[in-house]
């Protein structure tokens, strides 16, 4: 067999696949695993439409090789919702009309998640710079920034409520 056997975790599930050495993680996700949420907008790491989180780090999956996923954890947009409960970012993107065509949306959601994972209360400027690696041609980013800011508030409130519940137990 000329392929490389890879064992990895995608959205919490153990996944095994065989890929060629030159295959990008993006191609593996889309063509071998059927996860089409990550998009190829440029193939050169300029647009962010293929953003995924690899071991907690935001990356362009078009710039990583499939084989690099070995033994690591990949998070994609398909794993953001908790069962049938949308992630606050997904909810706020819909509520605030932060998408028009939607092609960049999975990448923005993942990039925003990576931001909020590390900064629970970003200001406008922090949001804008954290999302500067993701291109959107439809919205002018206005409603995206507002959605991320609102989702950050939701997550903070959720966290507070969780801590309160824990304290009263």
């Amino acid at each position: 067999m000329k392929g490389i056997a890879v064992s990895t975790t995608v959205n919490g599930d153990a996944v095994d696949f065989v890929c060629e050495g030159r295959e990008t993680l993006l191609d593996v996700l889309r063509n071998r695993l059927g996860l089409i949420g990550a998009k190829e907008g440029c193939g050169t790491g300029d647009c962010g439409a293929c953003s995924v989180i690899l071991d907690g780090e935001l990356i362009c999956s078009c710039l990583a090789l499939g084989a690099e996923a070995e033994g690591r954890e990949v998070e994609t947009v398909e794993g953001m919702a908790d069962g049938n409960k949308l992630h606050p970012l997904q909810k706020r993107f819909l509520e605030k009309a932060a998408l028009q065509c939607g092609i960049c949306t999975p990448g923005f959601l993942i990039a925003a998640k990576a931001l909020l994972d590390s900064n629970e209360n970003p200001n406008e400027s922090e949001i804008r710079f954290a999302l500067a690696g993701n291109l959107c041609r439809c919205t002018g980013y206005d409603k995206i920034v507002r959605a991320v800011s609102a989702a950050a508030g939701d997550l903070r409130r959720q966290k507070k409520a969780r801590l309160k519940r824990r304290a009263t137990k």
């Binding site: 060629e20 030159r22 889309r30 996860l35 089409i36 949420g37 990550a38 998009k39 190829e40 907008g41 440029c42 193939g43 050169t44 300029d46 647009c47 439409a49 994609t76 947009v77 398909e78 953001m80 919702a81 949308l86 997904q90 993107f93 819909l94 509520e95 605030k96 009309a97 998408l99 028009q100 065509c101 939607g102 092609i103 960049c104 949306t105 999975p106 959601l109 400027s125 949001i127 804008r128 710079f129 999302l131 500067a132 690696g133 993701n134 291109l135 959107c136 041609r137 439809c138 919205t139 002018g140 980013y141 206005d142 409603k143 995206i144 920034v145």
Partner: protein
Amino acid sequence: MTDDNKFTNQKFKLVGKRVMRPDGVDKVTGRARYGADTFAPGQLVGAILRSPHAHARILGIDTRRAEKFKGVKAIITSADLPDLTDGDGDLYDILENCMARGKALYDGHAVAAVAANDAEAARKALQLIKVDYEILPHVTDVDEAMEPGAPIVQPRVQTKDKSDKPSNVAGVTTYGHGDVDAGFENADVIIEKSYKTEQVHQGYIEPHACLASVGPDGHGELWVTTQGQFAYRNTCAALLGMDISQLKVTSSEIGGGFGGKTHVWMEPVALALSRKANRPVKLVMSREDVFRASGPASSTSIDVKLGATRDGRIVAADASLRYDGGAFPGPWGEIGAMAAWACYDIENVRSVGYEVMVNRPKVAAYRAPSAPMAAFAIESTLTLMADDLGIDPVEFRLKNAAREGTRASYGPTYGPIGIVPTLEAVKDHPHMRARLGKNQGRGVACGFWFNFGGQTCADLAIGVDGTVGLSIGTVDVGGARASMSLIAAEELGIPYEQVRCNIADTASLGHNDMTDGSRGTFSSGMATIFAARDAIEQMRKRAAKTWGIAVKNVSWKDGKAIAKGKRKSLTLKELAEASPNTGGPISGHSQTVADGAGVSFASHICDVEVDPETGAAKVIRYTVVQDAGKAVHPDYVEGQFQGGAAQGIGWALNEEYVYGEDGRLQNPGFLDYRIPVCSDLPFIDTKILEIPNPNHPYGIRGVGETSIVPPLAAIANAVSDAAGVRMTHVPMSPPRILAAIKSASHEQAPKN
């Protein structure tokens, strides 16, 4: 009357509400399928070989080695796409653009294509195709292309300049009225200025992508990212010699188009490959291909002459507009000439548009195509004139603005229009009173777009449970399904959630023109109203039958059939449930040519800060005021305003096709062709005005395009205010602004 398009000034229960879009969950969970997101059993992967030369004769193409390469299933050249265009020049241009025929006309022009088992085999096979080129002299600049002795791009196009020799000018059109020369004689002040704008790309994030399948039985299917499945079907069928009914085109979710997906690019190639290989073929452009071989908008060179009296009245206006169409004749100069002076009421006015061919990719529509460049030149000159006359630029525009009854420079007489209200709103906007800091300046500019109507139809099927499936044929580029569902629910008198709007494929609905010209919500909105009214007619009949009374005694109100003088009613749900026994399924249909798309106007305010050290300009505040007629879903109307402004900002400050001396595109990627990113922009404020369109039942006007028209000039006017330099060349990139600042300070320096 089910198809009366007159504005009725009804009170809305749903239209105007900010509801959740029906396609939203799929788009935030990664489920939505775009052009590249579908797969067919046994599919091959296509790839296209493109010319590395700006202009070259193709002496021969040797595909023998590539054909023998393992995994290759089909190779095509122009020989596999015979000319079936039967004298249709526009169609021939599309054919020639899909695949070079004897000559490569620009860097990136397709020369041959391969279908293979996988992408790697296809890529390697391309390298084995040997093309023998004879390099020809090229021209890529619009002004140079008009000079005598310039290389001729298309000898087959009958072109004539004043000397009757072949030229690169494929057409000249003139618009206007009055006596322009006499008008200038009455002017106290005349300003003449020349402008240039560089070529830009629509920059949709989703590259062109399709999955084509044609069998030996002559039947074909095409899944494709497009703004118009019906137009793609008709064009592809014509080029491949197929019956229209034998080709089913399904529009995928579309990842941005902005006009660039109104034109067929590589879809006929994918179909031809599939036909030859007898296998489905998936063909996806790389970003480099997108830049080199699809889109872009024209580069332009424009002269403006403006004459006014001291009291601030424009007495004469003249513009000469030269637009490149790439290597093919375009309508772009003409559209620019039509749009040029449309905002103003001018007695003596003229605009002349030139269609210029150069060795660049075939120009495509880009959001209000041709209007932003004309507005850049004209709105810059207007502010120069206002400054010269010592009149506030907004007041100067108000004094000369078109009104109801004004004869537009391009011919028609306006009905109720929004240019004066948008300017009044600008005048009263707090943005205009905000204080500016050091190196900051403010600019204002106006914009116009025609808006289109066109062929449209819709089907509205009422399920037995009382829910409604609405099928429309205009592709949803950013929220239209929500708007259409709102309209259907409003008309039927049922909750929004009971309507599901779907985009039909070409086998499921009659012809619809494309989603272009800001026509989607206007036209399909109208067709949806008519289809709903048709369904209501059916339901009134069913109710009358049930009650045993005459149909004329039944009316429809709040989702119910009610009988005059009787206390009974039948809800839509009750009628639907009973339908199997009252005459079968209930559905409404409509077909129309949606006439009377109301023209659209916008006025923008922009603040910029210019760094005098680097010449970098940054937009620090931006406000869009635009007439929407009626905002069906205000979130997505605002979104159109903001998106257009952002594209205009990129065009004004950064974006530019850079060609080398060799005629090759130097920056075919998002790294070097830099569109605005999140950290480049401020929040973009919007104000929606609603001046009803008298030719739409709900007063709707198109809203999608006008917002890209004013930014170039608004920013140029702001840069002038901030840095004291008048920029006449777009993009106003840091080197250009810095050079202008340096040259201005040099001129001001005391001479020894």
